[in-house]
């Protein structure tokens, strides 16, 4: 009995369908919960499903896309997504690079310094939003108090409430929360640079700045590009910090495409139009993913060509 069941297992596990059997459960879950809803979104975007108006006759066609193309709010939201993305990626790369360069060598307290620079990454986005929300408070926030010490008489800045400062204030939170990703990647990249290159340069009398410019920068170009595109993908998707703190306000100033998609669905209940916006966000993020795949996921044989 036992022998025959073992034989069944063995013949199964040596058969041609075995790899598919092993992949199937994971793919089934992803298919059910990601691919199917995605197709559903596509279907929704071609119809009229508005929860508050269930009896409205539905049309089939591209009318939602037509509306989207001429919708000023949508393109304003795309623009805000681009600003948010650029701000967080540039900010994270700059802070990450400085931190990585400062902690690359051997020095006393190095592991403590590394711990400190990764720590913000462990703070959940919701918690980060609350912490900074408290620090940004106009009347009692610690940031305005610090500002008062540095520049007395500057008055209280309305960080998240003012139309001009809301976006940069949110970007600062995201940078604080996510620069450790850039830091980890860049530090790992720095450690792969051949130390002999620096030795040779020092013998030739190169200053630290020249070494940075002519060795570090060219050697790190590939790692930095991969890191930046990865951060762009993350930051294009960001939802939590913006949603918790401003919900897209004040007067839509922080309403990125991702926030607008969600608001459209759960405040206006126009599921079809919201689905149309989601398809737009999927297409835009696929562009980023395509760049990432070209850069980072090359066939094994091509490894090292980009260096």
């Amino acid at each position: 009995m036992q022998g025959s069941s073992r034989r069944v297992w063995n013949s199964l596990s040596d058969g041609p369908s075995f790899p598919y059997l092993m992949v199937l459960p994971a793919i089934a879950v992803l298919g059910l919960i990601v691919a199917w809803p995605l197709l559903n979104a596509l279907w929704l975007s071609l119809h009229d499903v508005i929860l508050t108006r269930p009896n409205r006759p539905s049309r089939f066609g591209l009318h939602n896309y037509q509306r989207m193309l001429t919708d000023k709010d949508v393109w304003a939201a795309v623009w805000k997504s681009i600003i948010y993305m650029t701000g967080t990626v540039v900010g994270s790369m700059v802070v990450g690079t400085i931190a990585a360069l400062l902690t690359r060598g051997v020095f006393f307290g190095r592991s403590l310094a590394r711990l400190v620079f990764i720590l913000p990454w462990t703070i959940p986005a919701v918690a980060a939003a609350l912490i900074w929300g408290v620090m940004y408070d106009v009347n009692f926030g610690v940031l305005n108090r610090l500002l008062g010490l540095v520049a007395p008489g500057a008055g209280n800045v309305e960080w998240l409430l003012s139309r001009t400062t809301a976006m940069p204030s949110l970007i600062a939170i995201q940078v604080w929360n996510e620069f450790p990703i850039a830091y980890i990647f860049l530090l790992a990249g720095l450690q792969t640079i051949d130390q002999d290159l620096y030795k040779a340069a020092r013998i030739d009398g190169a200053t630290p700045f020249q070494q940075f410019l002519h060795i570090t920068v060219p050697q790190m170009r590939y790692v930095a590009a991969v890191t930046a595109i990865l951060l762009s993908i993350f930051s294009f998707k960001s939802f939590t910090i913006i949603y918790v703190l401003t919900g897209g306000g004040p007067s839509g100033r922080t309403e990125t495409l991702i926030i607008q998609t969600y608001i459209e669905a759960f405040r206006t209940y126009n599921f079809s139009y919201s689905a149309t916006l989601s398809i737009l966000s999927v297409v835009l993020s696929l562009v980023l993913v395509a760049v990432y795949i070209r850069l980072a996921v090359r066939p094994e044989t091509a490894d090292g060509d980009a260096h």
């Binding site: 994971a26 793919i27 990454w121 959940p124 919701v126 918690a127 609350l130 408290v134 949603y243 998609t261």
Partner: protein, 274 residues
């Protein structure tokens, strides 16, 4: 020599300043969390004056913070465990067994990882409703698995790629089936990496806000992330309890990170898909 000493002094200064800026929000969270109500309104300094645990008592006695934390633990454990099982199976097959469609499948999996969650949240809501999983912890777990599985598959595939095939081949010659070669040879060798995945899965689910907020409306089914966000609106002026809640929510991850730094960072690095 003096020049390099000067450089290291400059470096120490910049490091200290940057470190203080980076740590300050976390420091301030703990200071407010442990200060009596009204501290942030009345005090002008940056140091704690009086310690108290009142804010934590408030969270767990007057608010269902304990319940929310328990929900988060259940969902995170289930998400992480189920994702690990499914991804180990898939990751092994994608690493060891070259079959038609292998590469396409890998790229498709990667794309699901990179898509914005908001793009599928509405149809997912409808689907969970049809399955009867709306307003339930299994529903949230299922949603969270989609965030963990893709990256887990990629990482686990990488672990198996790093284990020499010869070991399995030798076992096969000795009469092991493919399945038992996987179970007895490769799986134990991949175990340290799998621990990193488990942590990654747990933390991802613990942090997640959008799905947990959208798929569970009754308060007793909220995860800690959703409960925490609710403090923003409800007690917008009560900074101290807010910060106590944030501290309770963030602390487990901080502790895990400090204890298991190596696995944590390995997980983050693999996230880039080398």
């Amino acid at each position: 020599m003096s020049r390099s000493q000067g450089l290291s002094v400059v470096r120490a200064c910049i490091l200290t300043i940057l470190g203080i800026i980076v740590l300050f929000p976390i420091y301030w969270m703990f200071v407010l969390a442990l200060s009596p109500l009204g501290f942030s309104r009345s005090v002008g300094g940056f140091l704690p004056i009086e310690w108290t645990f009142d804010n934590f008592v408030f969270l767990f006695v007057d608010r269902p913070m304990g319940r929310w934390m328990l929900n988060s633990v259940i969902v995170a454990l289930a998400t992480s465990f189920l994702s690990l099982v499914l991804s180990t199976s898939a990751g092994y097959a994608l690493s060891r067994l070259k079959f038609p469609g292998n590469r396409v499948l890998l790229l498709a999996v990667l794309m699901t990882q990179m898509l914005p969650s908001t793009a599928i949240v509405v149809p997912m809501y409808a689907m969970l409703r049809d399955l009867g999983l709306l307003d339930s912890l299994p529903g949230i777990t299922l949603a969270h698995m989609t965030l963990v599985i893709p990256l887990a598959i990629w990482m686990i595939r990488g672990f198996f790629d790093g284990i020499p095939l010869e070991l399995e081949k030798a076992a096969r010659i000795d009469g092991c089936s493919r399945l038992s070669a996987f179970w007895h040879i490769s799986l134990p060798l991949a175990a340290p990496g799998l621990t990193a995945i488990f942590i990654y899965g747990f933390v991802t689910s613990w942090h997640e806000f959008l799905f947990a907020r959208t798929f569970a409306s009754p308060q007793e089914l909220w995860t800690a992330a959703v409960g925490l966000a609710s403090f923003k609106g409800e007690y917008f002026s009560l900074f101290e309890p807010q910060m106590a809640a944030a501290a309770v929510f963030a602390l487990p991850v901080i502790v895990v990170f400090i204890v298991l730094q190596r696995q944590f960072v390995a997980g983050g690095l693999a996230g880039g898909v080398k």
